[in-house]
Amino acid sequence: MTSTDEELVARSIRGDPESFNELILRWERPIYALAYRTIGREEDARDVCQETFLRAFRALPGFRGQAKFSSWLYRIALNLCRDWIRRERRTPIVETPADVDMIELAEAAEPSESIEDLIARKDLVRAVERVMARLPEEQRTAIVLKEYHGLTFQEIADLVGCPLSTVKTRLYQGLTVVRREMAKGGLGS
């Protein structure tokens, strides 16, 4: 039977390293995805992901379960992303490695997909990355947490520490900017 996060946390606090490994396996990918979509760099996203788990491990004895473990992890990761953005003093840049991009593209091809469709899809992804990278941090975070991590409005509000209506406003504004920018780039509806 699969243990819940809370059970694994309890066992980790009691000194069972395997339980923490299980938590890492369970949450590594979402945390990495959050970091990547927030700061846009693979290497740095990996560092943020590792640092998140390191900090979580150190702070685990102090975790009292007031929030869900995942929310707690998200908060650590978001704080680290915010630190990264401030430290780098720049907007996130989504890197697209030039030498492997087409390989990944070819690997990602659906069997029935033509080269043209493939390129169109990749162009679309790049456009999304570019537009998202230009969004203000609060709007981007709200979209990432809602769109890709499926958090509720209330969870996002708790996580980023703002009122519920602010979360919705940020989402609306962010999505509207994305829609406008995509329409400019010929990717509208």
């Binding site: 590594e28 990918r29 990495y32 995805a33 990547y36 979509r37 693979e42 996203a45 990996r46 992901c49 030498d99 492997v100 991009d101 087409m102 390989i103 990944e104 593209l105 070819a106 080269i115 043209e116 390129i119 899809r121 679309l124 992804v125 456009a127 999304v128 990355e129 998202m132 979209i143 809602k146 769109e147 890709y148 509720t152 409005f153 209506s165 919705k168 406003t169 989402l171 609306y172 504004q173 999505l175 509207t176 994305v178 829609r179 995509m182 990717l187 509208g188 509806s189």
Partner: protein, 259 residues
């Protein structure tokens, strides 16, 4: 867009909530009624839905995981087993025989087959022999006559001991050399494979890029052709229309003149 919308509540919040299927139950009925009547809100919801679909294409790259290779067995153990494995079979058999012989010798084994049948016993458990010490001193000589293989066994033992003394050092050195050579070979093979993969990836990327460029160039050329042809058709149509108009006009003039 929302200039034509007359909704009095918090429209943006409700649009977002509706977009994610999370409208508060207390607002749901009123907002759904409004949506049914408001084309602007419906259009905006549709467009935001398209944005969500576009966003869904954005998948982060796979996180690079630490490459876990099978741990190498400890060098000491591997060395011992490798050295044992390197000993020829004949030497292993001889060593086994030697061990058996030595064990028999140490145990002072006495094997007899006489009228009483086969009897095996160690010298330590042999009954005390009666007689003078002189008689006792003659026993080894008699024993040597009775067991002529003892001399051969002793010679074999000496030879094997000499060889075995020289062998472990050589075997260990050989094994270490082989390990080093294996490691080096493995490294080279891996480097070659990596190099080959990188080359293939670059070639594939180049090919795909070429194909993509060709497709785009062809598409642009086709679009230009279509555009040019359309212009020609439009121009021809315009000329024909003008001619038709003049003919109609002339006809009308003639008809009026004949009247």
């Amino acid at each position: 867009m929302n200039t034509t919308c007359t909704y009095r509540g918090n429209r943006e919040d409700l649009l977002v909530a509706s977009l994610y299927g999370d409208v508060d139950p207390s607002d749901r009925a009123a907002f759904e009624e409004h949506i049914a009547a408001c084309a602007a809100c419906r259009r905006e919801l549709d467009e935001l839905g398209v944005v969500r679909a576009r966003l869904g294409h954005w998948t982060p790259p796979e996180p690079a995981r630490a490459f876990a290779s099978a741990p190498a067995p400890p060098v000491g153990r591997r060395g011992v087993w490798a050295a044992l494995g390197a000993i020829p079979a004949w030497a292993q058999v001889a060593a086994a025989l030697l061990c058996a012989g030595v064990a028999a010798g140490v145990a002072n084994l006495d094997v007899k087959y006489d009228r009483n049948g086969l009897s095996v016993r160690t010298g330590w458990s042999a009954p005390a022999r009666g007689g003078a010490p002189a008689a006792a001193s003659q026993v080894p000589v008699a024993a040597q006559h009775e067991t002529p293989w003892r001399a051969d066994l002793a010679a074999l033992e000496r030879q094997l001991r000499t060889e075995m003394r020289a062998f472990p050092a050589q075997a260990t050195a050989d094994a270490a050399r082989r390990d080093l050579a294996d490691g080096e070979t493995l490294r080279r093979v891996r480097a070659l494979i990596d190099q080959s993969e990188r080359k293939q990836q670059k070639e594939l990327a180049l090919r795909i890029a070429e194909v993509a460029t060709d497709v785009r160039a062809q598409r642009v050329a086709d679009l230009r052709n279509i555009d040019r042809n359309l212009n020609v058709i439009q121009s021809n149509t315009g000329v024909d229309m003008l001619r038709l108009y003049r003919m109609t006009n002339d006809l009308a003039v003639r008809v009026s003149q004949t009247k």
